[in-house]
Symmetry: C2
């Protein structure tokens, strides 16, 4: 633990308290129970471990170093510095052995629940009698702060309902938070609360009593019907002169204090000192890990001989890849569709087609499956009574849903999706942000994507959410215009393995764009494409629509064409994809010389200047919605072809004046 | 309850289930216990009532109509129609007697806790022996869906810690949610969970047993040390042919089904029928209410005679107004400050100055008061042991903090503020959105506002949050550049009574802008202002900065001036305020003819085209941050004067070419 202390002191920045308090817990778990191979951080059946209070990262880095992961003492010395492997909070993909980016409290707790869901899902799908290919625990250290976050409550309640017996969490209960003692804000009985959720609660035990910790962890392993919470009483900043205070939570110790702490524990004062015998002892983790994985590999070979198809599928799913035929015929799904259909309905059809080929596709909705059309028909419920089900009932818990889906993606072997109304994307921004940061494949389905949902009114009508999602780096937002674009949007989402995708669908029916006169929907893969143009050569005006407003733009375009305007209509389902296209493509679609541009979208206007600039126009909103039938609202708010035509004419007129 | 059914059927849209199931509960409360005056919806000491499952709005409208609020049968017939007083979900400010906009689940639950906090705060501050000026209950009906949301857990835990004895919530437990039985997603023991939070749990009782409901409510009133949760078992869509099913949750009944339901209950089939004797009976609420308020007025007059100053302050606070001297000398706070100071520190100083004049100012932080500098020194803790304290310790519960602050504002008499890091604004978007929709004054303080926070890394560094907040209609975002602008930002926040304000402050120290050479900080009130210009007349290039990047823009401006460029530097703390200025002011600051514009902000670039258009440049980010010292990050990410100068020169060169 003094490694952690030295790290924080060296960086003059960081959180020394929790690493010192929770060292014994973490050490006991890592030394005696954790199934892992420091030489292979991708082993499918390793135990998963999440450090939910990410500010205690120094503890995790110390453990990774000591047990032989690809991390050196120099890496530890570089704590919290530019480009180092040891950033302030654990970052997935940056440090070997870090299984989740944590820091924003509560997220790691829920990520772990997602990992355990993926574990159960995969064990149900792949294990066969005598062949336990997937069978591991998910451990986490969680803190007082985690316990106060709502996302933790949501995830814990769901974990209890699903009886996720392989979840074993250690609650580092030190009764200190930044503002002082937890009693000022947190006097609840956590044990009783978790019992109410259906968890096995063990303890409280002393956080320095390694035998008690070991026994508690073993009890957690033995309880197969309930997740386990082990309550450990710890002392924040243990051994330091300021142990048990809020100050030690997030202020580095002085050199003097660090030395004093080392004296207290009879530890040499030299920095980053690890006795040779300790290192030798801890590094045995490598041999143990390699042996364990080798045994697993042998078992997998037997499995492969007995179930070659399953084994192949297992490998494909864990590689994140697809079977070769995964999208055969996908683009033809709506070939015969002529009557208007809501993109949520189209999306449901695509999803149900995909799951027949992609067996790792699993997810669900925050109690809105019938409305979001995301139920996988014939694929059963994921629960504790049923087996092999794909449909997860998240309950009215958008936040945990997002974080759980992130945890599932982190586990690997599955392609998670979530679903709710677009307006409730607000509830799940923290986990979406982390998924984007971690560059993991999660698919967020958001339906009821505008005032078009009608009577439920402004609380349910998204207005600012589209722009809000577009502002998140590395999150791809796609809002298709009709059924055919919906198919292509889904394809893009599946192919986007380097980050999450938000699919944005309408509640209301949308006309099928006539592809005989319009460009094919596969233009979705470029983010934006010329859907239709009335004349040849450079257009006088460019109309840009997304989703349910593309047909509005097209109507407007035809009316302008009837008045002999050379007009181009773009369908722009995805800003992010379009902005990534080569500049010549972007220039061909949206020539920089043509400034008469009108964007139409049933969302807030501000932000569209990204494409229409200061000389264009935006037909959109700058207010919240209202309760009335959807078609009335489009009229009242002026989001219709009339207004697009008027705006276009206005721009053309202004250009003539100039 | 058949009124509600008729409303849903007439609109062919809405949620008939809960109004039918919860009718007896609501009726009992409203008829026998609720202290309210249908003729004065602003009476300070009325009981507060929140219908957290806002989709049951038809029930609330029926009660408001029956008890004599300003709502007619025609209003009920206009359910969910454009411009009506009876929108799909209750909307504060639209319907007399609706005390909170609800719909997004969990928010109403937490709003109620905020109302009860305001009640206790005001009772502690204003009541005197023999003079109970503020003493009322806060009631809510809450649903299965509310119980699953994390924000509810957070608020419930805090309410237990604070021992808010005047909270009485009725839990309409119908075991049905949209996807089916709650058991698929929600098997926890709610009673035990709330006991763990420190609540009195009563029941379960039968939701049709009005005597049991009455007794339970009375027990809730008598328990003064704990909030009360009354668990009522109800049957969703009670009396209808599809009672107890998920279908009745959100699908209108057919006319036939409605008639059948009426038959079951021996109710005439005619629509919107209310028997005269029922109406006469229910309308007695008016007389009772007027009597109660009259008595209160008499008591208030006695109070006023005994404590004229307090009474005056009471009136001022409830009117939302200020004492005349509230901002005297405020602008001089930092007159002698010359050394750099973080705007979070400056903000803390202003806040502590304001509270000395504005006694209704109360709030706190999500366990980050020492970091956000929002502790009101000498003003005590708000808790159950202490009295007259102003500092609320929200715990690590950003979401509930936001919703509770909203509830406090809805209650009236207080000016609530919240504080956390800007990146965690993501956790509280749902309540911020509702506050913006309700146009209530809540002040959100967000510190650690960019990569400038340094080592904590990308999880803690906001990047997209500024743009995300700017996209919310009716939310004013202000990011001041130095201590003087911080003062003006606070003034704007206080004066903005028609919506919430987000104050965005730096962690790192910022230089004090030299106002001898720069324009005065009161320019903040225009949203953006010309801070400095090197020459006269139209500038060749305009540099725009916000917050910690204003001094970067100014440095760049001076370097350009040294090269004989006529450059103007704008400080633009608030887009929303600037966009509301008259067009001649906007034109004077940002002339439409000058297109060489460079914006600099340590946040994402996309969106800034709103001001710089397609021909300008943005010095900003399009990625997440990283863990390293803040000054290193600004360098590595190129957010510095070098890059602003280069971008400006590039634009000037391009203009010359054209």
């Amino acid at each position: 633990m003094f490694l952690a202390l030295d790290m924080v002191e060296k960086a003059r920045s960081g959180h020394p308290g929790t690493p010192m308090g929770a060292a014994d817990l973490a050490f006991t778990l890592w030394d005696r129970l954790l199934k892992h191979n420091p030489r292979d951080t991708q082993w499918a059946d390793r135990d998963r471990f999440v450090l939910s209070p990410g500010h205690a990262s120094a503890l995790l880095y110390s453990l990774l170093y000591l047990t032989g992961y690809d991390l050196s003492l120099d890496d530890l010395r570089n704590f919290r510095q530019w480009g180092s492997k040891t950033p302030g909070h654990p970052e997935y993909g940056r440090t070997p052995g870090v299984m989740a980016t944590t820091g924003p409290l509560g997220q790691g707790f829920a990520n772990g629940i997602g990992m355990a869901i993926a574990e159960r899902f995969l064990s149900e799908h792949f294990n066969r009698p005598g062949h336990e290919i997937i069978n591991h625990f998910t451990y986490a250290i969680v803190s007082d702060g985690d316990m106060q976050e709502g996302v933790t409550s949501e995830a814990a309640s769901l974990a209890g309902t699903l009886r996720l017996g392989k979840v074993i969490y250690i609650y580092d209960s030190n009764h200190i938070q930044i503002e002082g003692s937890t009693s000022i804000a947190f006097s609840e009985n956590v044990a009783r609360r978790f019992e109410a959720y259906g968890w096995q609660v063990i303890g409280p035990i002393e956080g320095t009593d390694t035998e008690a910790i070991y026994e508690a962890l073993r009890r957690g392993q033995k309880e197969t019907e309930k997740p386990s919470l082990i309550i450990c009483k710890t002392i924040i900043g243990h051994c330091t002169p300021i142990e048990g205070t809020a100050k030690v939570h997030s202020d580095p110790l002085t050199e003097l204090q660090t030395d004093e702490a080392k004296d207290t524990c009879h530890w040499p004062e030299s920095n980053f000192y690890v006795p040779e015998d300790v290192l030798v002892y801890m590094r045995k983790a490598v041999e143990r890990g390699e042996t364990a994985e080798r045994e697993w590999n042998e078992r997998f070979e037997q499995y492969e001989r007995a179930y070659p198809d399953l084994a192949k599928r297992f490998r494909t799913q864990f590689s994140g890849g697809f079977p070769p035929d995964w999208d055969t015929g996908l683009s033809d799904l709506f070939n015969t569709q002529t009557s208007p259909i809501a993109t949520r309905d189209a999306g449901g059809t695509v999803l149900n087609t995909l799951v027949q080929r992609l067996h790792g596709l699993t997810g669900g909705s925050a109690d809105l499956a019938p409305s979001t059309k995301t139920f996988l028909v014939g694929y059963g419920n994921f629960g504790w009574r049923e087996h092999n089900g794909h449909n997860i009932h998240f309950g009215v818990r958008e936040h945990a849903m997002g974080a759980i889906a992130g945890g599932m993606a982190l586990h690997g072997g599955v392609i998670p999706y979530t679903a709710t109304f677009l307006t409730f994307s607000d509830y799940m921004r923290p986990p979406m942000r982390l998924a984007a940061m971690m560059k993991i494949r999660v698919i967020y389905i958001f339906t009821h994507d505008s005032i078009g949902l009608g009577e439920d009114g402004p609380t349910h009508q998204p207005v600012e959410q589209l722009m809000g999602l577009r502002s998140v780096p590395n999150l791809t937002v796609i809002r298709p215009a009709d059924a055919a674009e919906t198919t292509e949007a889904w394809r893009e989402a599946m192919l986007n393995k380097d980050g999450p995708t938000a699919l944005v669908f309408s509640r209301q029916k949308l006309p099928i764009l006539n592809r005989a006169e319009c460009a094919p929907a596969k233009g979705v893969m470029r983010g934006a494409y010329t859907l239709w143009q009335s004349g040849n050569g450079a257009p006088e005006v460019i109309l840009i629509g997304t989703g349910s407003e593309v047909h509005v733009a097209l109507d407007a375009g035809k009316r302008l064409a009837a008045e002999n305007v050379n007009v181009r209509v773009l369908s722009m389902p995805s800003w992010e994809i379009f902005d990534k296209q080569p500049s010549d493509y972007r220039e061909s679609v949206l020539p920089s010389s043509i400034r008469a541009r009108v964007a139409v979208e049933a969302g807030i206007r501000v932000g569209w200047e990204h494409y229409v600039g200061l000389d264009g126009a935006v037909v959109g909103l700058d207010r919240f919605g209202a309760s009335a039938p959807g078609e009335v609202l489009f009229k009242k708010f002026g989001i219709d072809a009339d207004h697009v035509v008027a705006a276009a004419k206005d721009l053309i007129r202004k250009q003539m004046v100039n």
